[in-house]
Symmetry: C2
Subunit: 357 residues, 2 copies
């Protein structure tokens, strides 16, 4: 079978060597005589995996010592509730930006626990940009943002500067670019884009800010409970954590987040410049809000769709169909997607112009 | 390396052919050209996996049509909260039995949402038996039980007969024996014993009893939300669900739950009869409460420990050390553990008697 250029929006492409090593460990974990997935999570080898995964996350993100990393279950969708439980005080108020489907879901879950002020929204424009921030004041416990909006292909170019801590769902751009962690109380995200396979969610939390809500929090939703158990309050998602560690080790070998950011910027520059140059295509996200991870675009004339779809399929490209909320196409270019795959797509776009333009 | 007899309490032994097929799919999923873990969960092949996994669960458990099956995240520990959210009405009351550490945790989480009457407890005897049930009345929304207590090696021989629906955490004996599902409103359990690898939790719920609590339930904790999305409200734990399906297919090929129950009873009879016969050993769980899944026992004289530990280690047995709450030894004999492995342990016990008795 010829090489597949995997543009899946998530779960998504992982490095081939990670897939190989994860497969080997499922068959028999090197040196253990058993499969990774039939061993106790309390065994020394797996405790070492969890510890390294937490420590390497902290190192790659350049987090200050006061941050602690957890790998739990439930995805960012449960994270929406967990974030509010841990940082929205009883009777309190928080600020949220509404930048897409997942941001709106975060708002919905937080409203179970307190008042939410939506201080910015681009919903009326089908979330095609990151909206200008309204007033955030010291009466807000935090400002919640979704740093990258997978469906719409928008991304915060800079993190907002506000007088309260930031809480961010970084599911779809974590580990893709550097950022200053100082303003953050909590960073969380499903691992199934840049960090690993589906089945785990990462929380990086400033432990000094925890425990101040006055709430009696159910155990699984209490980050302090998980911290007190070194991320093993209950059986962790063993395979997902192990394979996340392999992916983080791969990232470290690439030179870390700053190095992969350069590659990611080269990939997105290549594709956006073709979208802007090629008269057959137009982008969805506005300039200044464009995502380096998910590039949303469409044909100017629907009559070219059949030829374009045939061409990219024949070129071995998969996962390019846009989300139903936006239509058109979406090229998800996570860390493990090589520049070569982007060149293949750009070549198909150029060829379409030559034959149909 | 010689064969390992894997007595791990969970995550635990899985059938070798399941490990092989899961490993192959992580490398490259047959016919897909991609790894299982780098594809969209919305792809047709994975949707088919989820659908088959849910349907096969229902078939193997012999559940009536009104039951629906979900595969979610968070383990039984989040299930404790989910169970109460979905079945304990606002201002309501439920009955719980306290038969071990996990049962006590279930009680703790339910108390976030309403009143709990503990209608039976064997805590004072270090949970060495299933206690006689106190009064359960129609003022209780349900009776919650933990059908098998992994740490203590006790198990309900018969499900309680009460005038209210049953809610059960079956994490450590689901799919190991047949039972009448009629009295149940909800059955749930982490899959990491008899059903698959860590990372997923199964809910089998009577949909006709859902939605009656008067609560505004956070989305991830609302079983109706998950049902409305066919168990894909958010990204599911892809690898865990896939490998659970492989394990369920294996179980079906063994003849299903009734057939594996015969094997499980033969295994536990072999080991319990040796514990009872051999003057060097004594069981922890009382007769009538003994688990077929987790056999807890200890030496009558600690002076034999060094020789015994050396012998079972040399025989290739792993995971036999008891939980710190009970001490001694625990032989976890889940579905995939062959009778041959139990014979190896029994032979070691007999040999200890011959040389040390």
């Amino acid at each position: 079978m010829s090489k597949i250029h995997n543009y899946s929006a998530g779960p998504c492409i992982l490095p081939p060597e990670v897939l190989q090593e994860a497969a080997d460990a499922v068959r028999q974990w090197e040196g253990q005589g058993l499969s990774l997935i039939e061993m106790s999570h309390r065994s020394k080898p797996f405790v070492a995996v969890m510890d390294e995964c937490r420590a390497l996350t902290k190192e790659l993100l350049g987090l200050p010592d006061r941050f602690e990393v957890l790998y739990l279950q439930g995805g960012a969708s449960l994270g929406f509730l967990t974030a509010a439980y841990n940082f929205l005080p009883e009777g309190g108020r928080a600020a949220y930006t509404d930048t897409g489907t997942w941001a709106a879901n975060a708002i919905k879950e937080a409203r179970h626990l307190g008042d939410v002020d939506v201080v910015a929204s681009s919903k009326a424009e089908n979330y095609n940009h990151i909206p200008t921030l309204g007033e955030v004041h010291s009466g807000h416990a935090y400002l919640h943002i979704t740093t990258n909006n997978t469906i719409y292909g928008t991304q915060y170019a800079e993190m907002p500067k506000v007088p309260v801590p930031l809480v961010a769902d970084m599911s779809s751009d974590i580990m893709s670019r550097t950022f200053d962690p100082e303003p953050f109380a909590l960073i969380y995200g499903g691992v199934q884009k840049n960090m690993g396979p589906a089945g785990a969610v990462m929380y990086a939390v400033d432990r000094e800010r925890l425990g101040a809500t006055g709430r009696n929090i159910p155990s699984y939703l209490d980050l302090n409970v998980h911290l007190s158990k070194d991320s093993m309050f209950n059986t962790p998602p063993v395979f997902s954590v192990f394979t996340t560690l392999l992916t983080l080790r791969w990232l470290q070998a690439q030179g870390g987040v700053a190095a992969i950011q350069q590659v990611n910027e080269a990939k997105s520059a290549l594709l956006y410049s073709e979208i802007d140059r090629n008269p057959l295509f137009v982008g969805h996200a506005l300039m200044g809000s464009r995502s380096h991870m998910n590039v949303t675009f469409r044909l100017n004339h629907e009559e070219h769709a059949a030829a374009f779809d045939k061409s990219w399929n024949e070129a071995g490209i998969s996962g390019l169909k846009g989300h139903r909320s936006v239509g058109g196409y979406r090229a998800s270019m996570y860390n493990a997607l090589p520049l070569e795959s982007v060149q293949v797509l750009v070549d198909v776009m150029k060829e379409l112009e030559r034959t149909q333009g």
